[in-house]
Assembly symmetry: D2
């Protein structure tokens, strides 16, 4: 992910330094476990822990360079790290990584990084949810037109729109939690997962200390269905971002102007057209959602590895894991800020709602006519006729409102009074269930 | 593809009967070629051709059932067909398929079917192009607002919009032609493509008769990069459909009402809301585009087969090839009809263009001020200030037009005359290059 | 999905008839709820239920044709069905669908169909799990070589391989259950989800009777993040199929011959090469997995609908929902049968394990040398040297086994005895944890 | 793309500095064109060119920081650059960017960068092609077993395998050339592509100088179908890499050992298993192919922008364009080197070919029996019977070769002589067309 769309907190999780810290932690914990089991001398384990902690505390670019140098020779990243670590620890280093295989370290480390990343994403989600809740309650009863197919349908409230997006993000928060448990898994089981050279208690110890569970069957690696499911959860969340961003983009359209992204003083919308205030944040979020989603196809292709493992997944994950989590983290926080500061124009909502001459009440008028004794078919025919007539002449001198058209038709007025008609054309009718829905979504 | 989105002409190409016809044609042609080479008796080849032609002419559901019956036993579709054919041809059938492998028939048949499908798609494209050209010329000088980010930018013409989509479809027509040549390929080269039991002249003869070229190196099968490239061309075309459909969906929005899909007499837009006229065709096209595009990931995954071939691509193609071509054929013809009948409302375009008080001319005013001696920065600051003021008070009693705001500012009027300002605010200024662009797109 | 890869039980769920049955059930239940609330006469609700049940019981192709005929006129599928239903029910039909919108019926019906489909898939999974469990226990201690990167690594057991796949399918079973609850949702909330013309108790009643939960916020439709998450679960499951199928394809390779798909009497592997027995089922499963996975990109693109809804998702789902569930159902049952009948050749496993002269024990020899006092670096160097020497001369007259090479090196023999070396080269060493792992996977 | 998989030559193309260089070049050329047209003073254009060239020549990190600083204020990258440029150029800067819009610069720059990237990729392709050609000719007549479904089929030559991959890469080279021309496009047409403030001759001049063609209809931006088609070409090429990498992975399997990646002195294959030499390069290429392919879904989603443009594509391309080109460049060069140094073991190929007792000649034996007078069905039955018998007892004491089995059957020997049988079982028979195929692929 380019720096433009990266936040330091998430980027740090994917830094080489954080990776080496976690690698060391896994090795040190494994040594402790082996010391507990009597496999290696306790003193050596303590020594490894102490000198290793010192080395990690003093970790600098020089250490990075040294590890890279060794890797250029061995062409193996874990061996390079272990060699560097041995230089720091001395003779006891021969007890490090004993009976383990590189993937024990690599895969458990990836789990830790993904857990760290997910915890950050869950916090981000809470900020998004808070912003949406704020706007939902602020506009709980702000009437606006509901639109299906981009066409005015019936009135609803802006708060209800926000509540719907809140509910979707709440579902995604839950999906992320499930995804977190999918990948919060430790594997320290040796070359093909048989624990041939390693007591399963080592894995259990390291897992517990790292807050992970033990993989049921690892085969050198943790099976990649877990990671595929993880990236799927990110992708579904990304789509929720795109859906909300698209709503904002629509509302800000020049013809609607019902809401608008905050426009900073000094900001320039266009080099050529000084009048422009564009919904660039929500458009950007639309693009970021595409990027985050693009992780799923390769993540699913990663599941099918050969026999006990091949390493084709590795290059994919070195890119995907940072890209998708950094991108989603950035997008969530941008979204939260954008929604929090969103400028909302109730008077424009009202103006738009009324702009079609009242045809948006056709549904309730249909029911009123049905109640007044019309058959469904007759009522539909009449209402459609007058609605279309209203619509067609909108804005023209000879145009009349839906109400006027209906009241000029004796077939209508024979069965229904003007006041009954007016009662069917009140936007407030559509807010009756808002309280109930809010209770479902936000609790009591 | 469900029947709802299928046209008979394309569906027929993917019928079992058409497939068997092509299989027989390949076998018969191969026999002719072998007879020419003296590999098999000429009389036998003629016999095979005559009796086979008769069998195919009389082909009925009973034949389909018979072939299915044999396949249930042999679990091999080509062997089942050949056994059925032998029942029809008699003794000479032992010269059929001599030295050939099933894929020689299957893959060359798929090529023929894809060529047939593409020829239909190319015709569809011509119908789309004709509809777009018609609307482009009809509205060559119909002024409408150009929108970037969903926000009014500067005037353009509706014909120019259409010309842009025309140019995109013309590019896609060319891509489809290239895609056609990618898969118009014949392979009759035996079990692993070595021509060990078969003279390459057989392949050359069959290819020529079928209007195909010979594969450079087939390895039992035609390499699947060709098919992947083919489906990519379909996917890019599908995206062009979605782009145009999205334009129509936007234009039909209740707040814009600049264009509208034809609404049939008797049509009902909604069971609950009789006033509704929804852009359901263009929304449907948006969905169909997603479907057609979904072919590309499996098509790309099909490229990597094991060694000389594995058969994992087969189940994919049995679905993808019909689905993607049937879906695209249906979508193109629906699009063409929709664009041909599209209701276009120039007066709504004009009303929308003027609805922002003239700020859409900010770009040209900026240039006029620059020409009048302002620095770029000063001009930008002034124009942005007055545009934002106009915008903010739009529709309010105290609101003024962009022109009024500019002319009330001495800093402006010191440098530029009202008539120079008016000259910068004419929508027609933006049509100066339309003729040139039309010439580029549509020719002289 | 082409009939070739479809099973009747799943296909029936997606038939027009099943859809109409569910539509009627939703309408009838809604009428019951409204009668309970006093909104419509109880007698009418009973009448609707009785006559509707009769009509559905007698449902025939003539009814299908009649509905199609009405839809051709109204261009609206739900209105067409309701009109047909009114013909069957008579006057009381005016109480049907009262205050409801088409999507109330369509979306709740899709939920019911997806639940039906998922229940079938869950049963399929159980059959797969049973087949895997059978083979796992049958070969719990069948030694085979574990392979990383396609290269012999260390011994493992064939039962452990099976247990790993079992664990993956068990995880996917759980994911499918979660996915089921994602889409087991009812929405009967009117045109934009406000319950304006409809008591929320109607939705609650219908939901309960259908075994669904109520959507938190529906906006005419059930939000599509639910469906996207659903198809993701199918996609991850499909990848598990591909992973296992790929394992079988590898094991059946001519050079391995460790396992083989059942080859039916009368089956022909190739029209040109009578000796062929190909792993066509597992290759086919590989392709089917690609197909099922291809649903996710359009499913994710479906999430972002405009405002309260647009209908672009509909054409996508009309194809995806049947295709993905039918394809996955077929693939799971084919897989289960294939694994159940899989021919397994332990003697070939043993032969392959021994074919590299014993170098597969290098890891344990390394540990033995380390235990014997070598530094990690020295032990690695020695073991690598002798392993490479063994490997390089494999099958050549001057070649020696890994054991012979090691024992010919004084640097080795100074520190370790032949019997200690032999102890490190026993395949059985690698089975020590199999019991523990089986307990984790299969329970006590 | 992480640095691990990046080469400096390609990374430099996507650096901020290269971008600014191209931006300046576009602005300077546009000024020259305007000076030619008399729109701006020639002296000013010369001044802009001279001072700008000096500024770009002296471009340093301080300049990058200054531009970033301005962008933080204006939130607009092009305006930030122009402001920095104005600081360098002075008063004449007011003639820079006159009548242009940011996308004129951004999109034309992206075209230039993609052209630069593609030229590098085309060179890479040539290196790949050279390596494949070398191996093809070196092993033109090296007999190896052809495999379909992973099962031995018939003999072929290793050179022919290489020729097949060569032909696929040659097709992809052509696709890349077509893709290059797709995106080698210039647009300098103003805010919505109408040339309202800008003579089309400016675009024509800049295009010619940059080696680009002029976009037919730009709408502020170059339409994104071009870029989608571009990334599709990259994706198809990536799949070719995966296909070849998969071939190598198979050939290096422990049971085949027909080829092997070069293993560097000092390289370590596994931290736990010193005997390992893994095909890590080809596995890595498999993963990189997945990454490059993952660009196509977002690239296709980028096509559908709103009206004249929205900016959702931008964040996608800021990542995709570098990632896909850097990844593909790295993968191609890694592949070329890997294929060039590939260790190839003809003796292992021969051993494997013979390992199935000769059944791989069943196809030619079938033809020989047919020629000897058997019906196709009888011949198939006989050959299948003896092939299966051979296969089943492979490696067992009672096992016999295919030849022995056939010659022990009187039904066979009545019709065919041992020498005729032997003639049908010569691997060399399968090389008859190699010369012809090589001529097709590599030319005379």
């Amino acid at each position: 992910m380019v720096p433009r769309y990266s936040r330091p907190a998430m980027t740090a999780i994917w830094s080489a330094e954080n990776r080496y810290r976690i690698w060391f932690e896994i090795e040190a914990l494994a040594c402790e476990a082996m010391a507990n089991l009597g496999t290696i001398p306790r003193e050596s384990a303590q020594n490894i822990r102490r000198r290793g902690d010192e080395a990690m505390a003093a970790f600098s670019d020089a250490d990075l360079a040294r590890i890279d140098e060794i890797e250029a020779e061995t062409r193996h990243d874990v061996i390079a790290f272990l060699t560097w670590l041995a230089e720091k620890i001395g003779d006891d280093s021969r007890f490090v990584h004993l009976g383990m295989t590189s993937s024990d370290v690599l895969d458990t480390c990836l789990s830790v990084q993904l857990v760290q990343a997910t915890d950050l994403l869950l916090k981000d989600m809470d900020v998004v949810l808070a912003a949406l809740k704020k706007q939902a309650f602020a506009h709980k009863n702000t009437v606006t037109i509901g639109r299906s197919h981009g066409i005015h349908a019936e009135p609803t409230s802006f708060g209800l729109k926000m509540a719907g997006h809140y509910a979707e993000f709440a579902r995604n928060r839950k999906r992320l939690e499930t995804a977190r448990s999918e990948i919060a898994v430790c594997a320290i089981s040796g070359a093909v997962g048989t624990f041939a050279h390693l007591d399963p208690k080592v894995e259990a110890y390291v897992a517990e200390k790292l807050g992970l569970s033990c993989e049921d069957v690892s085969t050198q690696i943790i099976p990649r269905d877990r990671h595929a499911a993880y990236f799927c959860a990110l992708a579904v969340t990304a789509s929720a971002i795109e859906r909300l961003a698209t709503e904002v983009r629509h509302l800000q359209r020049s013809e609607l102007r019902e809401a608008e992204e905050f426009f900073h003083p000094g900001q320039k919308g266009s080099s050529a057209m000084p009048h422009k205030r564009n919904p660039v944040l929500s458009e950007n979020l639309t693009g970021l959602a595409r990027l985050v989603r693009s992780a799923i196809v390769p993540a699913l292709e990663n599941v099918t590895l050969w026999h006990e493992r091949d390493i084709s997944h590795s290059s994919v994950e070195r890119n995907l894991a940072p890209d998708a989590t950094i991108g989603l983290d950035f997008a969530l926080m941008r979204l939260a800020d954008m929604m929090d500061k969103l400028l909302i124009y109730p008077e424009r909502m009202e103006a738009n709602l009324n702009a079609l001459g009242g045809v948006v009440h056709s549904g309730e008028v249909l029911l009123a006519l049905a109640k007044a004794g019309f058959s469904r078919e007759d009522a539909y025919r009449l209402v459609q006729k007058h609605a279309m007539a209203t619509w067609t002449l909108l804005g023209k001198p000879e145009g009349r409102s839906f109400r006027e058209n209906l009241l000029s038709d004796p077939e209508v007025t024979q069965h229904i009074t003007p006041s009954a008609l007016d009662a069917a054309m009140r936007s407030e009718n559509h807010l009756v269930a808002v309280d109930d829905i809010f209770k479902k979504v936000f609790g009591a």
